[in-house]
Subunit: 235 residues, 2 copies
């Protein structure tokens, strides 16, 4: 039996990585105007990883890392107007409409009728709250947890705080690294619904835990039947 079904938000309930991907492509176009600006996605990713411990996750962090990468890749030749263009990209991202993934509009209200739902997302506080508000899904979630990172310690603390037994907790998300492996590590159940794009930082090596310890679905439309099976009901 399940007491709580928790969902990741970005790339699980709504599109997110596509927004970063589109912005990166405009960033590349902007840098292409500088001769010898040796663009590589790897350079931006390395800046992001170097800055992660200072900035944490989210769009503002991404923006500051884009500016730093642009200065580096152009050898300091980037014009102020192009830095402003990067700031404008960031503001666009922060105002982008929330686009729900397929099936979300149907399954979330349906599951909320019978289960306690929780939203667990990492990133920027204001941005995540704004997206939850724009998604119109807020009222279906009994609890919303916005955390700086999603690791076993964080999940354990959430379960403790809400008095949830791990074996009666199910996490649904697109990231093996953030949504699945740490939940299994604390004794919870997990359903992996991969998104078609994965940020390099969220990828994990092929060394997954023992097979059978989590369920992989193609899309969220398959979730209600899976939950029925997990609860031992007829599918």
């Amino acid at each position: 039996m399940l007491d709580v079904i928790a969902f990741d938000a970005d790339d699980t309930l709504w599109h997110n990585e596509t927004l970063y991907s589109k912005t990166q492509s405009r960033f590349r176009d902007l840098l292409a105007r500088y001769e010898q600006a040796d663009w590589s996605e790897q350079a931006l990713y390395e800046t992001e990883m170097r800055n992660l411990r200072f900035y944490g996750y989210g769009i503002k962090s991404f923006g500051l890392s884009m500016i730093e990468t642009a200065i580096k890749l152009t050898g300091g030749r980037i014009q102020a107007r192009d830095i402003q263009a990067i700031i404008d990209l960031i503001k666009e991202m922060l105002q982008a409409p929330v686009q729900l993934l397929d099936h979300v509009e149907d399954i979330i209200p349906a599951l909320a009728a019978d289960h306690t739902l929780m939203l667990i997302t990492k990133g920027d506080l204001l941005d995540q709250e704004a997206k939850i508000a724009r998604s119109d899904l807020g009222p279906y979630f009994a609890h919303v947890e916005i955390v700086p990172d999603k690791n076993a310690e964080v999940y354990r603390s959430i379960l403790d705080r809400h008095g949830i037994r791990p074996e009666r907790f199910l996490m649904v998300g697109n990231s093996l690294r953030s949504d699945i492996l740490p939940v299994i590590a604390v004794g919870g159940q997990a359903v992996h619904v991969p998104y078609h794009l994965t940020w390099a930082h969220e990828t994990v090596s092929e060394q997954n835990p023992a097979s059978g310890s989590y369920v992989v679905l193609e899309h969220l439309g398959q979730l209600p039947a899976t939950i029925g099976k997990l609860q031992g009901e007829a599918p």
Copy 2:
């Protein structure tokens, strides 16, 4: 009687505005090298206020607004190396040691022995959690709430979630706008301990609520006696 005593963090438990103030002064020095860069604190403040609904509070938001202001005030002449210098200022701020205010080290452990303490702070999730960790005060607080903004609605939601009756809730903080007025508005008690610097955004007009509805102290060393009085004990 009081069930919960809640504290603001920045400029209530540790110095914060001095850090912003020092950074602004280095930002001014940096811009002074550009002829006709018509520096005014007002310009940066206006950029921050314009960006608040996108960025929210915190150091990364401040940094993005400094970069935008620098581009504007130099008419786009600012060099990339000076933008990088602004990014470096931001990273310094994010790593700055936490300096506790006078009396904090004594009164927080003493109050925690007899009361349930809560920390309610706004700003950037990762940065605030890092400061709480660096302050070594975390273990004294039963609950930590990091919120995007501090208004009556937010306080009401915190009280509801924790099942706290407003009249048995005391908030202690340096900002009339964020720590005192909204708490009084929801029926709570409040102690104002002004800090020697106040960010323009946190100032309120002289129109305070009816006198006597909150207590003003000179420093936190006076808090235990005030709490004794509020609880009807001999001071």
